[in-house]
């Protein structure tokens, strides 16, 4: 049944107890995201060190289990990665959610990829895809410093 794939144990766990749900002190990059249809909001904070490595990443916000879990898993996985690596992971994740069967990046470990693939259950729920991708688009916006609030209406 598709629902079981969507609400896997790991999603429910991250949804209920999101990791990194706080505000990084001394963050040097941040961005906000918003889904006007359902009211979900997210604010992503990044602290990159001199080498452009993610020293800390956190988020604030509220939303459904999918969006909270997605932000939680995302922040967990990109911590410690270099900026260009983060971008590659984001790209890979978004492509996977949209069309591809699996993740292709060479940065994440297999067990990390497995964790991330838990979010793929959302593919069967087109209206919920935005819940899963909002924090990822917001992370990109923070890195690129676009200063533009991500509005999930305009991403696909």
């Amino acid at each position: 049944m598709d629902l079981k794939e969507l609400y896997q144990e790991i999603i429910l766990d991250h949804g209920k107890n999101p990791r990194n749900l706080r505000k990084t002190t001394n963050f040097n990059k941040d961005a906000k995201g918003h889904n006007p249809l359902c009211g979900d909001k997210v604010h992503v904070y990044l602290k990159l060190d001199e080498d452009k490595k993610v020293q800390d990443i956190s988020f604030e916000g509220q939303g459904c289990a999918i969006s909270m879990a997605s932000a939680s898993i995302m922040t967990d996985l990109v911590k410690g990665k270099e900026e260009h690596e983060v971008k590659e992971i984001v790209k890979d994740f978004l492509e996977m959610i949209k069309e591809k069967d699996k993740l292709n990046n060479k940065i994440l470990e297999e067990n990390e990829k497995t964790k991330l693939m838990c979010l793929s259950g959302v593919k069967k729920y087109p209206m919920r895809v935005k819940c899963a991708t909002l924090s990822w688009h917001t992370l990109t916006s923070a890195i690129d410093n676009t200063q533009q609030e991500i509005n999930s209406e305009n991403i696909d």
Binding site: Y7, L12, K16, C38, G39, G63, C64, R128
Partner: protein, 405 residues
């Protein structure tokens, strides 16, 4: 017509959703359509189609008569004084925009005040917000009480000599509160303040009598009233339609057009610029007849019983929290589930064929006030039954199970 068998009149219920019977609890969003309405659209397009009012050929004459027949039927349905007090619009949203725009143009200036309520749908706020930007008017929000109701007093408190309009919902699409619109209108009129009622949720569920309510404007969404999409109705007292400037400009609403000036047509043409939603207007006559056949009193009774039953069932279900508990409540059951977000609820319910809505329901001000980012809402129509409520409850229990609650 037996209200127990009403579901049979709605062809949508012959279809399955995810292999389940459809339990449609999203009527506050849009209602399903009875067979007679769909048939009318079909017949009109296949046998009688023509544009109205402009040509003198057979089909055009017949269509024009049918079009005006709906106007008269609607006049009677809401007991308006004059058929020309019925203006067809694209929707309730356009109806409210029409009033805010034309009333604002003619009567509002900087510092004037408008009273809305915290229950208002964005469609009854954004158009007034435009006047705040363009004219510098003030918008005041009457506050809800702890039951999610708006009292006469909460509005009275805000009235000043600068109040130029009171624009309020008839029935909240979130808490279900039915506002004392007759009393509010009396009070407002005692100070010469006109009243606009957003009747989107009132019209499909409550008996309407414009002359008794006495309001100046009443906005209706036909697609929530078992009618076609793309159609709304503005009821407005004749004196207003005569006094206010026209809204959109185009064919059909003019009297004389010269290079240096234009004179406008009289009612009802003045507010119906361009080709109207001909087929939809004509089919909407069947929606009115459908409602008349059941009888709005029977609908009120049926839905009120269902709402009470729904409140009971959901109250008994621990971890469900109903949003608002107004004494005078229409057929809306908004709720939250401890620790489960509304969107997750909606997705899980949908798997069982139970269609509800999750989100802020175009009422962000209210959700901010309640400290909720989203709620789940089951809203009822004439076709719903106790069985639908039971299925809703079962599916809610499934949510709880999935989330280990």
């Amino acid at each position: 017509m037996n209200i127990e068998n009403i579901k049979k009149q709605f062809p949508i219920f012959n279809n399955k959703v995810h292999n389940n019977d459809l339990v449609y609890l999203d009527s506050a969003n849009s209602s399903q359509k009875p067979q007679v309405v769909v048939d009318r659209i079909y017949d009109f397009y296949t046998k009688e189609f023509s544009n109205v009012g402009r040509s003198v050929h057979y089909l055009a004459v017949a269509a024009t008569n049918l079009y005006e027949e709906t106007r008269s039927l609607m006049q009677k349905y809401i007991n308006a004084k004059d058929p020309n007090e019925i203006v067809f619009t694209k929707g309730a949203t356009e109806a409210i925009n029409l009033v805010a725009n034309t009333f604002g143009q003619k009567f509002l200036k900087e510092g004037d005040e408008i009273i809305l309520t915290e229950l208002e749908h964005h469609s009854n706020y954004v158009p007034w917000h435009y006047l705040r930007r363009s004219k510098g008017i003030q918008i005041k929000f009457a506050e809800i009480n702890s039951e999610g109701e708006i009292s006469l007093e909460s509005i009275e408190k805000l009235m000043t000599s600068k109040t130029k309009m009171i624009a309020i919902t008839h029935l909240s699409n979130v808490t279900g509160a039915i506002l004392p619109i007759k009393e509010i209108t009396r009070l407002a009129h005692s100070k010469n303040i006109p009243v606009l009622i957003d009747g989107c949720q009132g019209a499909p569920h409550l008996k309407l009598d414009m002359q008794e309510i006495g309001c100046d404007f009443y906005a209706i969404s036909c697609h929530k009233m078992y009618g076609p999409t793309g159609l709304g109705i503005l009821y407005a007292k004749k004196k207003w339609l005569e006094t206010l400037p026209p809204y959109q400009g185009g064919g059909g609403m003019i009297s004389e057009v010269k290079k240096d000036g234009i004179t406008f047509g009289d009612l009802p043409n003045k507010y119906e610029a361009g080709t109207m939603a001909t087929a939809q207007v004509i089919a909407f006559a069947e929606s009115i007849k459908f409602l008349n056949q059941i009888g709005i009193e029977n609908i009120e009774k049926h839905e009120s019983e269902l709402t009470k039953y729904g409140e009971e069932v959901l109250r008994k279900n621990n971890s469900v929290k109903l949003v608002g508990s107004p004494k005078n409540k229409g057929s809306v059951l908004s709720f939250t589930l401890d620790g489960i977000h509304a969107h997750d609820i909606a997705t899980i319910l949908d798997e069982d064929g139970v269609a509800i809505r999750a989100g802020h329901h175009c009422c962000q001000i209210l959700h901010d006030k309640l400290g909720l980012s989203a709620t789940a809402r089951a809203s009822l129509g004439v076709y719903n039954t106790k069985d639908d409520i039971d299925k809703l409850n079962e599916s809610i229990n499934k949510c709880k199970k999935i989330f280990n609650k």
